[in-house]
């Protein structure tokens, strides 16, 4: 009887502590509750149900089928592939981006509805990676679109991908993954960078002649 009670109290205590900690993480003060409380609660649901866009932009997409299917099964975390950008929350830039893809990725990103997140795979979107001297591959994706998370590896293994998703979940819950807000605030800057490579009117070198 006593044991049972003690056990009950103990369970209750752990429950309470967990609960309080959870509230701590969610809401810090009364003003915060008034301003952001609702948003914080919604963030919980956002992190638990992330739909990624089914768009293979580069070679990293090769590790997505194993991540999605039987062995690693990312649907465990509520992540599933979606057919169109309108329905999706996550855009995965799986590796290098040629300018032609960059244009489509930008369109896609702008078609997606807030809140949305962008994950960059591997080293190519950071600095060009192995294609640093290629004439079509961009070197730094962060200039053109806001990156919420980068996953290392060439290509990132499924474990790394899932770990990346979990990290993003934490970021969403804490409210630090706000790339879409950054994109809106600094739209001019992003637009300028995008235009500089997508809508060039002059050849880069003087020797350039269009044949």
């Amino acid at each position: 009887m006593v044991l049972e009670m003690a056990h009950g109290t103990f369970a209750c205590a752990t429950f309470n502590r967990d609960f309080i900690r959870g509230v701590d993480m969610l809401i810090t003060s009364r003003n915060d509750l008034r301003d952001n409380g609702w948003e914080r609660i919604l963030n919980y649901f956002r992190k638990k149900s992330m739909w990624m866009l089914h768009y293979c932009t580069g070679c990293g997409a090769m590790e997505l089928p194993p991540t999605m299917t039987s062995r690693w099964d990312m649907e465990r975390f509520g992540i599933g592939p979606m057919a169109t950008p309108r329905q999706a929350d996550l855009l995965l830039v799986t590796g290098y981006l040629s300018i032609k893809s960059l244009k489509r990725v930008i369109y896609t990103y702008e078609q997606m509805q807030d809140p949305k997140w962008l994950i960059a795979f591997g080293s190519c979107p950071l600095n060009g990676g192995i294609y640093y001297d290629s004439y079509t591959v961009i070197n730094r994706l962060a200039l053109y679109l806001p990156i919420d998370l980068s996953i290392e590896g060439c290509m990132p293994r499924p474990e790394a991908v899932i770990n990346g998703f979990n990290t993003l979940m934490k970021g969403i819950e804490k409210g630090t993954a706000v790339g879409y807000k950054k994109y809106k605030e600094n739209y001019e800057w992003y637009k300028k960078n995008q235009d500089a490579i997508l809508n060039r009117t002059k050849p880069v070198f003087d020797s350039g002649v269009k044949s």
Binding site: L42, F45, R46, K48, S49, W51, H54, T69, S70, R71, D73, E75, R76, F77, G78, G80, M82, A83, T84, R86, Q87, D89, Q113, D114, P115
Partner: protein, 294 residues
């Protein structure tokens, strides 16, 4: 009072429908040899969808999507859920229900065509064509059941099936049951007949342009639809139930059968699907009608 009761009905249909979806996802995942999402995943998805911004291309789009959900929810009003029902005089009038269900589809069609995406236009054209396929055998089955029971009320049909397993219409009229089950597969839009969604062909068809809240409404419509359609078949063939939980269980079994077929079959082209509907379920339902009449 009746308003509160109706709200309870609508909420039940949505909540149970979403639960079925979640459990169904888990079930399919197990067939795929994977772990699958938690069974409450569908609720999370819906809340997330409603927390997103959404984009509308035309006021008809907003209106149509809402009409889609409203059509299904309006049908729920006529549905006897286990022992509960809303209107005493029209306690599950199957003819009215069939009419009201169509409103849901037409609303969806209207809203989706207003989005202006060719993929969704193709998708909705396919959905309406497929509807032509499965509605006819289903209506023939319903007619034969009305003929037997001399009533179009679901409550009367349920009452006539009382008295144990062997009195169910499923056992008494197997041909009709099989035809109705085939039609149910089409109604739910499960695999051999999911040409209207077909992600690899038309990028999820009607849902292409639906974002955030609209997608959420679409989700709810689908959940309510699962509830409604399995409930109708349960009342027609599985003898309904006076216990709500057993009623839900029977519905869920029907849904699982549908999902099992879904997991191992590929997608028909929509015209083949219509042909198929007009061949097999049609023949079965006509045979059933003949047996009943003679």
């Amino acid at each position: 009072m009746i308003v509160l009761k109706y709200i309870a009905f609508a909420l039940t249909s949505i909540i149970v429908g979403l639960l079925f979806m979640g459990l169904g996802r888990k079930y399919s995942a197990r067939i795929h040899r994977r772990y699958g999402p938690p069974f409450w995943q569908s609720y999370l998805d819906v809340i997330k969808l409603f927390s997103k911004t959404s984009i509308s291309h035309h006021w008809v789009m907003d209106f149509g999507i809402m009409m889609g959900l409203a059509g299904i929810l309006a049908t729920i009003a006529f549905l006897p859920i286990g022992p509960f029902h809303l209107f005493n005089s029209m306690n599950g009038n199957i003819i009215i229900m069939l009419y009201f269900m169509t409103i849901g589809y037409l609303g969806m069609a209207m809203g989706v065509s207003a989005s202006g995406n060719p993929n969704s236009a193709i998708g909705i054209a396919r959905a309406l064509t497929l509807m032509l396929g499965y509605e006819i055998p289903f209506v023939i089955v319903v007619i034969s059941l009305i003929f037997i029971n001399k009533s179009s009320l679901l409550s009367v049909m349920v009452a006539n099936q009382a008295g144990g397993f062997l009195h169910w219409n499923m056992i008494r009229y197997p041909l009709g049951f099989i035809a109705a089950e085939m039609a149910l597969q089409g109604m739910l839009g499960e695999k051999p007949f999911d040409a209207m969604i077909a992600p690899s062909e038309i990028a999820s068809g009607p849902m292409v342009e639906l974002s955030g809240k609209m997608m959420g409404l679409g989700f709810l419509q689908h959940a309510a639809q699962i509830f409604l359609e399995t409930a109708i078949i349960t009342s027609l063939f599985l003898g309904g139930s006076s216990n709500v939980w057993i009623f839900f269980l029977k519905m869920f079994v029907l849904y699982l059968v549908s999902l099992s077929i879904n997991a191992v079959s590929a997608r028909f082209k929509f015209e083949n699907a219509v042909k198929w509907f007009w061949k097999w379920p049609m023949a079965l339902s006509l045979a059933q009608l003949l047996i009943v009449i003679l």
